[in-house]
Symmetry: C2
Subunit: 423 residues, 2 copies
Amino acid sequence: MAARRKKTATRKKAATRQKTASRKTTARKKTTARKKTAARKKAPARKRPAKGSGEKRVQATDAQTMKQIDTTAKRVHQTIRSSRRPDLALPVRALSNVSYDTRRGYLEIGRQRKVRTLSVNTVKNFAQTLRMMALSKELIGNNDFATKREAYYISKNWEDAKFDEQVESDTVMDDIEALFSVDSIAREQLRFYPEEHGGSVSGPLLVIDRDATGRVARIDCSNFGSGAYSVPTSVEELDFETSADFVLLVETGGMFQRLQSHRFWERANCILVEMGGVPTRAVRRFVRRLADEEGLPVYAFTDCDPYGVANIYRTLKVGSGSAAHINRFFCVPTARFLGVTPQDIVDYELPTHPLKDVDVKRAKDALKNDPFFQRHKEWRQALEQLVKMGVRAEQQALAKWGLNYVIEEYLPNKLKATKSFLP
Amino acid sequence: MAARRKKTATRKKAATRQKTASRKTTARKKTTARKKTAARKKAPARKRPAKGSGEKRVQATDAQTMKQIDTTAKRVHQTIRSSRRPDLALPVRALSNVSYDTRRGYLEIGRQRKVRTLSVNTVKNFAQTLRMMALSKELIGNNDFATKREAYYISKNWEDAKFDEQVESDTVMDDIEALFSVDSIAREQLRFYPEEHGGSVSGPLLVIDRDATGRVARIDCSNFGSGAYSVPTSVEELDFETSADFVLLVETGGMFQRLQSHRFWERANCILVEMGGVPTRAVRRFVRRLADEEGLPVYAFTDCDPYGVANIYRTLKVGSGSAAHINRFFCVPTARFLGVTPQDIVDYELPTHPLKDVDVKRAKDALKNDPFFQRHKEWRQALEQLVKMGVRAEQQALAKWGLNYVIEEYLPNKLKATKSFLP
């Protein structure tokens, strides 16, 4: 346990160094074994940041991002110098340009491009796009960041190129993000951070982070009392140490709190992560890195309703249709669905609520239009079963059998048969 | 700085003990001085939990809560035994039963009671109220808790007394909470916890917490890298150590992140707290305890719009009208408003958005009906100025002058004149 390891370290440093080392070896062996198993099932390995110092990794990515910005800008500049009209070829961000290959594991953006050529009509937008890229370069240079809203306000000093509404600057930022995603650069690497973060974390996990001054913080997620660690907005620079066996993602704050305060993470040797509805980009990326770099299986525990399945779980696992250009970074293709399943409602005689019209519509839309459900027969059957039953159940409905039934019975039973989890 | 103190401690324990002690004395002197000043302005001291071991404090409160539940139940029981019809006198939870006395500092529930007498019509509700009280007693006995939703599901095994909808169990819980609030017992003490928590914290603050097994965690809020500490759902059992000069509450996640990642808390020696909109009960209580027990001034930094003023700040400072029975615990009467003020929009030439109809309605409602605004002339003038200007401004609008203008200029300027803050 990271916590225990730390405690001991303060007492007897020398003695512990050995111990820790041997424990680490065990942990690593375990991880390697798991990685091998996972690798067989997973898509061919994709380019991923090397495990190691978060600082070095970020420096390398920053250099790459700077280079890409420079290359793009130079191309525009040279085209202008040779008296031609410059253009930018931006990936089309729409459902019509999305595909799903189960081997790759996420909703993927296609090859369609919209070409924005400089003209009298596009000059303002073209200038804004270049200034936004310049802002990104400046932020990297200063080791700073800007939220979407801040970027909008900064533009107020761009004279003719200023944005009148934030929706305009958001669109330009999305375009740039899509443009650079082709080179595996995400918005966070361009130093545009989302406003929201959230996602509490608890369990045998040591997060190694640095603040803006470079000071290193070692955060022990098993030692927060009744509270928890909160995932920061950008997680790329984090490093991890863990001896956990898997990650358990929980939909509601209430359920997370129950599992956390009763130290379920200790009993099951897992890392608990609160999603609080559809998980934010930061939470998805955080878990993805744990899955990729630590080789941990990921299980999701949500309410049993079309929202929990088709929005929360689907977005977690394969990303969203409208932001397909970022799914390669921001989803967890290896995630599996622990429950609550429609069959659980029957097996555990759970109290239910009738499905609302909006629930039924969401389920039918998913069955008809969503490539994820089209590819997974088990999920189609489960959704159809739910619609036929005409009810939904919350994860906290297990409290019918006692507040801690979920800890004593439900989760241990489920975790005995992870292979039968929905894909 | 708590962080520095801790670091040193691991290195040279003996040497540091002295140092820490002397630093603490300085901190205490400062605190006492501040407390004296604060006391002059504040309401006559109200009963408050003694500073000291959170565990002991919670044990004392548990004993008191158990006793009150027993007393109430015994009275009902004895009335029945003497062949009379028992009743419960519940405080009326409505704006009509609310008053505001600036010396007490919060919206206070009045003396109106609705008497619920046992009869054929009320028997189910009466039984449910008693069972809910019994559940509370059981939770205290088991050192457990239940969320509102869990309490609803538990009732599914109460046979005829089961709730059909969660709104019914919520109402009964609110009634019980109001009943016990008369004896200074809040819902958290009855062990009914809210679902939501949230509120990130950063700065020179050591939080001392215990988990369900009693293990003590010392959480250093100055050492979270790019992340932050997240306030737990129930904060009564926490203890604090701090050398900060004040608490700065920030409305948006984006602004919090800027201040946190640039270590503004170090520069200004303050504790930063992210509200994320209207602060949750847990955040309000957390800050209230810092204000009461550590004697820290509290400043709020929100958007300049009727929502930021009349909802976020008003609720933080004096509580809400619809939950007046809990305001005595869940507000921060000593809070002051740093900005963004309507005058700041003029002085700092901030980019604005036009006020929407709903904004204007909210401002006019506040001016007409809200006892808080009726008592504070400065606030009436500020709101009237805003309505007259017809615009609103976000706190991030300061980015017009540069991303870190807020850190370099705006906040330092403001903090030079805390006495001119709006009340």
